[in-house]
């Protein structure tokens, strides 16, 4: 069963503020959100900035990439290289808990985060 929650789209920054194939952190409603511009695939992702491993505000500075046959998009934490799926937030290489992902869209070069 799936529930669809109404989200409010909050404009956060310019698309050009986020480096291609990299990420940056934005302050959204007092929360730190990591925004990734997966330019190679023409996709955008947003997750929490906190790495659950050692509670570090860092994921936006992580390297992105993909893994496996299905090319699951992921981000690697710079500290100890825990990797997390950008689609589901699930930790892919350790027992860390999942990270929160957020809806994201880019319109007219503006990045919006879907806030519930």
């Amino acid at each position: 069963m799936e529930t669809l929650t109404e989200v409010t789209w909050l404009p956060v920054c310019q698309a050009a503020d986020i480096p291609a194939d990299g990420g940056a952190c934005a302050l959204v409603e007092g929360e730190q959100v990591a925004i990734f511009n997966f330019a190679r695939r023409g996709e955008w992702y947003a997750t929490q900035n906190l790495c659950p491993h050692k509670q570090q505000m860092i994921l936006a500075r992580g390297m992105i990439g993909s893994t496996g046959e299905a090319c699951e998009p992921k981000v690697a934490c710079p500290y100890h290289k825990r990797t997390f799926s950008l689609l589901t937030g699930e930790c892919l290489n350790a027992d860390e808990c999942s990270i929160q992902t957020y809806p994201i869209k880019v319109e007219d070069d503006v990045v919006y985060i879907g806030w519930a």
């Binding site: 956060v12 920054c13 503020d17 986020i18 480096p19 291609a20 194939d21 990299g22 940056a24 952190c25 934005a26 302050l27 730190q32 925004i35 997966f38 190679r40 695939r41 050692k54 509670q55 570090q56 505000m57 860092i58 500075r61 992580g62 390297m63 992105i64 990439g65 993909s66 893994t67 496996g68 090319c71 998009p73 992921k74 690697a76 710079p78 500290y79 290289k81 990797t83």
Partner: protein, 834 residues
């Protein structure tokens, strides 16, 4: 619970051999119900490598298999519960806990205990034996306060224990032996004498022909008294006077035991009761107790075969042995003592370097019968094979111990010529044929993979070099080419990729991925390709910042909590008072913690990411530049003060260090590079611990390469001696570029050299003699990198676009991460614990 009718095998003793028996039986059959009793509080561990417990291995590291293994295989395990009685008529064993366990077959694997001679005073405090983990704990605790210690017994185990005393910091360590020489049972007189000299050089004091009459001290040992009236004062004593088979249980049950101990067994390892077997160090076969693990494993195999109606028998075992861990190579094989007229001996002795080798050959000169190796036992495996397989000797058998004279290399030659039946791993009974087949059929191309396939090398480990040679020999014979691919996105090794990117003039990660990779890349290949691109073109790395590891991306090392450190270059460790004041002022302004590093410069910690460009702007204005403390590139060239001040200095080491540091600064390499320049052999700059190090000599400079501190310290090796500065720089250029082009990602120079076929001799040939004819290219490529040098921080500071990347929040560039916290420490700040 096992199904009805399943025969029950009870194993008494969960030591090395008892464990191996379970493992071997399970590998062949699950038709038995296995019940194991162990007297020790923990599951079987590797006694052979027990001394490594002092070297940092934990009890868990030493386990033969974790407790879970017994559970997973349905073995009923009773630990800390010794069997006290066997009721042979009822076929039950009675354990100390009161448990009564019926058996269909009983396997006694009770091992042995240390033999403690009947010397008055052995009960005193500070007198210990060397057999179990608990013994070692006791020794360790005791050694902590002991200034002097002795080992009673100069045999295989005694010497191992004596070395352990030294390693535990007992400075005054003695070995007391009753016989007139060391290791009387394994090596000959001349070999013993050489061994003694070498051990004395290690700091051990050796006392021979000493009969201990009593142990002195009030309740606690303070001295050893000998028959000749002499006295040795010691704080502790480890007795290693031989082993006593543990046959008490068997004796009580009326089984036949030997006069001097040991449970008598036949070739099927059956005791005088055919339902009871005995294996390992408690078994007496043809009047022999085997105090080694390999024969014990063979006995276990025999019992498994007997239980499964097989026909394997035990027919005695070779007592060849190679001593480990004592800092001197010692080996004896075959019959070490056999002499005229039954054999001819060839002896090689080099008192200067402490090498003694003896081989005994058959009178007709055709076969090798045995021998002794002291000081250099590299040939041990091959010689043992030559004896065991009756391999015909070459026309000049002395080559066996002298090697191909004049040449440095020629390692591993000949292993492929062994017969398939040759036993390579005697602990696990793995033959050459099994190893080669595992390579061809199962794809086991590394020692680890081999261990998983057939356990070769998991016992004493002595055969590992030979296993490696066999793997490589088989691969070469198949025409296989061994390569390390980067990751799932690039099916190329670093070396291949560097050539591809060079030839195709590829300058970005995306282009590399488009041409030679698949998928979207990852945190492994991105920095690896970044390093390759830098090693080829040395372009500004921040222009491709998203493929850099985090330290390179922000041109600073990240710390706990998300702050960064700032390290300006101080070539050669030289810094002026003005510069020191500038650092003090800037660190104070930005509230940074300051510390002198191990690399002779100053590190400022705790900078906010958004402050980094401002801090650097001020540093650059004071004449500083990036120290590349974050890069896989040259860190520091450490220097001693040298001839400008030091009364021993031969040349100006500071100036040379500065010159070298400035020449190679900023160049990216597979891993970081460190260097040092010392003004004389006193070596205050520790140049021999560096990736490349320079030491002044009367005639010029010596160049050392491929040293390492860090996790696995290794001394650098001499590449060239007494050369002038220009030659040295030329060699260094070549060395550096050769390393950049051929090492794997994150491989320091020491490991690179260790993996290089032919080692330092080969490297010297490439760098000094230009044996590959590539030196002109290497020099030109390196010159390009030097010409492209730029201070990365200067570029960032001056470029508003790049500067913008140094913020925590894209949408609030002035705001700092509010979660970042610091604590106070001795008047400065420190990062908050995670």
């Amino acid at each position: 619970m096992a199904p009805q009718g399943t025969p029950t095998v009870v194993v008494v003793g969960n030591g090395m051999v008892g464990y191996k028996f379970c493992e071997k039986l399970l590998a062949k059959s699950t038709a038995f119900n296995l019940v194991v009793f162990g007297e020790e509080p923990r599951v079987a561990y590797d006694r052979v490598h027990l001394s490594e417990y002092f070297g940092g291995k934990t009890a868990d590291d030493l386990l033969m298999a974790p407790t879970q293994w017994y559970h997973d295989h349905g073995i009923t395990l009773h630990l800390g519960d010794a069997v006290q009685e066997i009721d042979r008529s009822r076929r039950t064993v009675h354990a100390r806990s009161g448990l009564v366990q019926p058996y269909d077959y009983l396997v006694l694997a009770t091992g042995s205990s240390a033999f403690v001679p009947d010397v008055p005073g052995v009960e005193k405090k500070g007198v210990m034996v060397y057999r179990t983990i608990e013994d070692l704990d006791e020794i360790k605790a005791y050694a902590a306060t002991a200034r002097s210690g002795a080992v009673l017994g100069g045999g295989l185990l005694g010497l191992e224990a004596a070395k352990a005393l030294l390693d535990l910091g007992v400075a005054d360590a003695h070995v007391v032996e009753f016989a007139p020489r060391l290791m009387p049972r394994q090596i000959d007189t001349a070999g013993s004498a050489m061994l003694q000299t070498k051990l004395e050089a290690l700091g051990l004091k050796i006392h021979l022909s000493k009969a201990t009459s009593h142990i002195g001290g009030e309740g606690k040992i303070d001295s050893l008294h000998f028959g000749d009236g002499s006295i040795l004062e010691v704080d502790m004593l480890v007795i290693s006077a031989g082993i006593r088979p543990r046959d008490e249980l068997a004796k009580l049950a009326g089984l036949e035991v030997g006069m001097r101990g040991g449970i008598v067994v036949n070739d099927e390892m059956r005791t005088s009761d055919s339902r009871i077997f005995a294996i390992g160090e408690c078994a007496l076969h043809s009047g022999m107790i085997y105090g080694l693990v390999a024969p014990g494993y063979d006995m276990a195999e025999v019992v498994v075969s007997q239980l499964l109606q097989g026909a394997r028998a035990f027919t005695g075992y070779d007592m060849s042995s190679k001593l480990k861990l004592i800092g001197v190579d010692v080996a004896s094989f075959g019959d070490p003592f056999i002499a005229e007229p039954h054999s001819r001996s060839i002896v090689f002795e080099d008192a200067h370097s402490g090498v003694y080798k003896r081989i005994n050959i058959s009178p007709d000169g055709k076969y090798l019968l045995g021998g002794v190796l002291i000081g250099d036992a590299e040939a041990y495996n091959m010689l043992l094979q030559t004896v065991n397989n009756k391999i015909a000797l070459p026309p000049h058998p002395e080559d066996l111990i002298l090697g191909a004279r004049g040449g440095e290399a020629e390692a591993g030659a000949g292993v492929m010529s062994l017969p398939d039946e040759a036993l390579v791993c005697s602990c696990e009974a793995v033959t050459k044929g099994m190893i080669c087949n595992a390579v061809t059929d199962l794809g086991a191309t590394s020692v680890d993979a081999m261990k998983k396939c057939n356990k070769a090398g998991t016992g004493c480990g002595g055969c590992i070099p030979m296993v490696k040679d066999l793997i490589n020999g088989t691969l070469t014979a198949q025409g296989a080419y061994i390569k390390n691919v980067l990751c799932e996105h690039f099916d190329y090794s670093r070396q291949e990729l560097i050539d591809l990117l060079h030839i195709n003039n590829i300058r970005s990660y995306d282009a590399a991925l488009d041409h030679f990779g698949t998928g979207d890349g990852c945190e492994v290949c991105k920095p690896a390709v970044a390093s390759i691109l830098s090693g080829l073109w040395n372009e500004l790395i921040v222009k491709q910042n998203v493929i850099q590891d985090t330290n390179d991306r922000y041109l600073a090392n990240i710390q706990k909590g998300g702050s960064y450190s700032v390290v300006p270059r101080m070539a050669g460790g030289e810094v002026s008072p003005q510069q020191l004041m500038a650092i003090g002022r800037i660190a104070d302004k930005y509230n940074l913690y300051t510390k002198i590093t191990g690399g002779q410069r100053i590190d400022m910690f705790g900078a906010h990411v958004s402050d980094l460009p401002n801090i650097w702007e001020e540093l650059i204005a004071e004449g500083f530049e990036s120290g590349h403390a974050y890069g896989k590139s040259l860190r520091t060239v450490k220097s001693c003060v040298g001839s400008t001040w030091c009364r021993f200095g031969l040349h100006d080491s500071v100036s040379f260090a500065i010159e070298i540091e400035n020449r190679y600064k900023g160049i990216r390499s597979p891993h970081k590079l460190k260097s040092g320049v010392s003004g004389c052999v006193r070596e205050c700059a520790e140049a021999q611990a560096k990736d490349f190090g320079v030491i002044a000599t009367e005639k010029g400079w010596n160049l050392y390469v491929c040293g390492n501190g860090g996790a696995k310290p290794q001394h650098a090796q001499l590449l060239a001696s007494d050369i002038d500065k220009e030659t040295l720089i030329k060699y260094l250029d070549r060395f550096m570029m050769f390393y950049i082009k051929t090492a794997d990602p994150l491989m320091r120079t020491a490991t690179w050299l260790n993996k290089m076929d032919g080692g330092i001799a080969y490297l010297r040939n490439v760098i000094v003699n230009d044996s590959l004819g590539i030196c002109a290219d290497l020099e030109a490529e390196l010159a390009l990198l030097i010409n492209n040098y730029h201070c990365e921080w200067k570029e960032v500071v001056e470029n508003p676009e790049l500067r913008k990347q140094f913020t925590h929040f894209v949408n609030a560039p002035k705001a700092k991460d509010p979660t970042m916290e610091f604590a106070d420490m001795r008047g400065q700040k420190m990062s908050k614990a995670w």
